[in-house]
């Protein structure tokens, strides 16, 4: 029995900002869900199930928030699942929702990722003292910087590649009304002169902390055929995990990432990613991860991904493979939603509904999320036509 074709019928986002003081957590989620339903031209009661994902419960201090959110998400009397796979959660949540359709268990599923960072205390959540290890990590940047440094020394990449990525993503964000950072007057020099946080990562090369929610309505083939607005069709989905510390691990280019990408490309029948994919939304919370992921995923040759940044290949303005036209995680980062935003933005591209940050004629796009110590990966490929 083959999988049911899955369509993305509707997408809803909230304007990402540092503080959404006008809505509660429930209000934030409902806003995104409402917009997704509106885009899908569906009513709450037509949804069969809800799948929600977010980063650790400790952030907002609400344990298992799917319980509190049951009413706000129209889930009373329906199944609701809560996915948690660290930073990749927005992506894996979309994949769990897709599997409910692919398996024919449900016909229409609402999926949502959110984070209300203004109501959370991430420092408290992440710094719960673990008595048996030394606490000197100073955050995710402290974890990923050494890995980035390794990439730089392996590939011989010029020092300012990271700044180029950050500048490009912030330029892209100006064309995305939902993005958090709208740095209208930002210059490249300002990016370079920004204070160094964890060498080689400067402040300007890190992601903001945002409030926000992103929701999608997924449906089966018939729903996709009947939809009033253009839909995106799922061509491939994949998830992979590996341990974050084992002998011989390649932390720069994790095997789990390579295998996950190979699987999703195989499912979608893609043999030349650079040529066949029109738009890419990948999870880049620290600038250098753009060239690193492009290599790991197979869009660029090993040690050469940085050239695609340098020569403008990844820019919306005329690049062959525009990356993160939405502004990416570097421009908006409600952690629990960030992965889903990547998946949703990929779908917006092939639906032709990405507005000012639309890649002309995009037919196939790639969505990606990662989490933990670069150990959890979730990816999907969506297309304007059925697979």
């Amino acid at each position: 029995m083959s999988a049911e074709l899955t369509a993305i019928l509707g997408i809803g986002q909230t304007k990402y900002s540092s503080t959404r003081g006008d809505v509660s957590i429930a209000g934030l989620c409902r806003e995104a869900a409402y917009r997704a339903l509106e885009d899908a031209c569906l009513d709450w009661k037509e949804i069969d199930a809800v799948v929600i994902g977010k980063a650790p419960d400790f952030f907002e201090g609400v344990m298992m928030p799917e319980l509190y959110l049951a009413e706000a998400l129209g889930a009373v009397g329906k199944p609701i699942l809560r996915v948690h796979t660290a930073g990749s959660v927005g992506g894996s949540t979309a994949l769990v929702a897709a599997s409910l359709i692919q398996s024919r268990v449900h016909e229409k599923v609402l999926t949502i990722g959110f984070e209300k960072q203004s109501e959370s205390n991430a420092t408290w959540a992440l710094s719960l003292p673990q008595p048996f290890s030394v606490s000197i990590n100073a955050g995710a940047g402290g974890y990923f910087s050494p890995i980035i440094r390794q990439y730089m020394s392996r590939s011989g990449a010029p020092e300012l590649i990271g700044c180029m990525v950050a500048f490009k993503d912030r330029q892209h964000a100006l064309k995305n009304p939902y993005a958090h950072l709208h740095q209208n007057d930002l210059t490249f020099e300002e990016v370079v002169d920004s204070p160094m946080l964890w060498n080689p990562i400067r402040y300007s090369e890190t992601c903001p902390s945002s409030d926000g929610a992103c929701a999608m309505v997924l449906g089966n083939e018939i729903s996709g055929d009947r939809a009033e607005n253009p839909v995106a069709w799922v061509h491939g989905t994949a998830m992979r995990s590996e341990s974050n510390n084992f002998p011989g691990r390649d932390e720069v280019n994790p095997l789990a990432s390579r295998q996950c990408a190979a699987d999703v490309f195989r499912q979608a029948g893609i043999t030349n990613p650079l040529k066949e994919i029109d738009a890419v939304e990948i999870y880049v919370p620290f600038s250098w991860y753009e060239p690193m992921w492009l290599e790991s995923l197979g869009f660029a040759e090993l040690d050469h991904g940085w050239r695609m940044v340098e020569d403008g290949t990844t820019s919306l303005s005329g690049g062959e493979l525009p990356v993160n036209c939405s502004g990416g995680v570097l421009s908006s980062n409600p952690i629990g939603a960030s992965g889903m935003i990547r998946f949703a933005e990929a779908a917006l591209q092939v639906r032709g509904m990405a507005g000012d940050h639309q890649v002309d004629g995009a037919k196939k796009s790639f969505g990606h999320a990662y989490g933990g110590g670069a150990q959890y990966f979730a990816m999907w490929i969506v297309g304007a036509e059925k697979p």
Binding site: M1, A3, S24, I25, P56, D57, F58, F59, E60, G61, V62, M63, M64, E66, L67, Y68, L69, A70, E71, A75, V76, G77, K78, P79, I80, L81, R82, V83, H84, T85, A86, S92, L95, V96, S99, L100, Q102, S103, R104, V105, H106, A125, L126, L128, Q130, A238, M239, R240, S241, E242, S243, F246, P254, L255, A256, Q259, C260, G372, G373, Q375
Partner: protein, 357 residues
């Protein structure tokens, strides 16, 4: 859920679980490495052959954000595996794995969950599960909420203190055969249970589940694969889950409509059920569930002692499924209902109906 007979046949083929009052000789990672190995070995499958792995656990229970990351070590995720995680009881992880098997690309799945409630204070932890603006800041503890529910049932004449004590007695007697039972007693006396002073009126200590550390691992397999792993697989005939309103004042706490609905969608009909493993925090909740599931004297309820004997948050539901499955696999029973709950006062419920050939 659509017509159940159009779904792929998926069965539980092996289980392993362990519960104890306080886990001290090993940590969760070592416990799960042991249970997962036992479970795989008993089915005769290696991690590389397993198509999908899914687990359930809670950061708040562990006292650490991203706590599930460490436990991935128990699985042996090398080469990299296709793996997911829910911040819910393992029963819901099993549901996700069942869905994955329905798609048809993989034939086997590993499901596991664990909890170490002894590390923290369950009443403080569970208070954070409530509406963060209106309810949680009042810090209502889970036992008081369950007591409110029991009080409503008593005042409406739907249950009696005697009926509650009968449930407690059943749990303690049944549990005496279960090495995982933390509280059990072959010779427990009804009078003693009735005479216990309330901990949170009207709940006596024996009416409240016995918190325990532990974990559980389960292997699912589809079609012929299941038959190759196990002589008598426990086939999942139906599985469904539903949720009720969170706001306590909005719903009738003497009922659990989501439990009723989940059972209906999972295929609970008039066919005989040999056994049922139901997951409640109190004896009063077990009485509600027996009614929602329409269980009568034909069905043996909580032969394991149930969660009253040993309640490991995040694993109790998966353990209920494993208890029904293991009795079907061993030939002791032909058809059973397993249940898992989440949230205050039976807000969310999962029902799984299993059958042997």
């Amino acid at each position: 859920m659509s017509k159940s007979n159009s779904f792929r046949d998926v069965a539980v083929v092996s289980v392993a679980s362990h519960q104890t009052k306080i886990l001290s000789e090993v940590n969760e990672v070592q416990l799960m490495a042991d249970l997962i190995s036992k479970c795989r070995n008993s089915a005769g499958v290696t991690q590389e052959e397993i198509g999908f792995t899914c687990s359930g656990s809670s950061d708040f229970l562990a006292g650490q954000a991203f706590s599930f990351v460490h436990t991935l070590d128990s699985v042996g995720a090398f080469p990299p595996i296709c793996e997911s995680h829910v911040e819910m009881d393992g029963a819901f992880a099993l549901y996700e794995a069942w869905v994955k098997l329905q798609i048809g690309e993989v034939d086997t799945a590993l499901v596991y969950s664990y909890g170490k409630p002894s590390a923290g204070s369950i009443i403080d932890v569970l208070a954070t599960q409530l509406d963060p603006y209106y309810v949680s800041p009042l810090w209502p503890d889970c036992f008081s909420l369950a007591a409110l529910q029991a009080r409503l049932l008593l005042d409406k004449g739907l249950i009696t203190l005697e009926k509650m004590a009968e449930i407690s007695m059943r749990s303690q007697k049944n549990g005496s055969d279960n090495p995982n039972a933390v509280r059990s007693s072959k010779d427990v006396l009804f009078e003693n249970l009735m005479n216990e002073p309330p901990i949170v009126d009207p709940l006596r200590a024996s009416d409240i589940s016995e918190i325990a550390d532990g974990g559980c691992a389960v292997i699912l397999a589809a079609g012929d694969k299941a038959k190759s792993f196990c002589e008598r697989p426990a086939w999942i005939k139906g599985i469904d889950h539903r949720v009720d309103s969170h706001t306590l004042g909005v719903r009738d706490l003497t009922r659990s409509p989501s439990a009723f609905l989940a059972a209906e969608k999972a295929g609970r009909n008039t066919d005989r059920l040999d056994l049922a493993e139901i997951h409640g925090m109190t004896s009063a909740q077990e009485l509600i569930l027996e009614k929602e599931f329409d269980l009568n004297e034909e069905t043996m309820v909580n032969l394991s002692g149930g969660s009253l004997a040993s309640d490991t948050m995040m694993a109790s539901g998966l353990i209920r499924i494993s208890e029904v499955a293991s009795r079907i696999i061993s030939g002791q029973a032909d058809r059973g209902l397993a249940h898992a709950t989440s949230g205050p006062c039976l807000q969310q419920n999962l029902v799984c109906i299993l059958e042997g050939e």
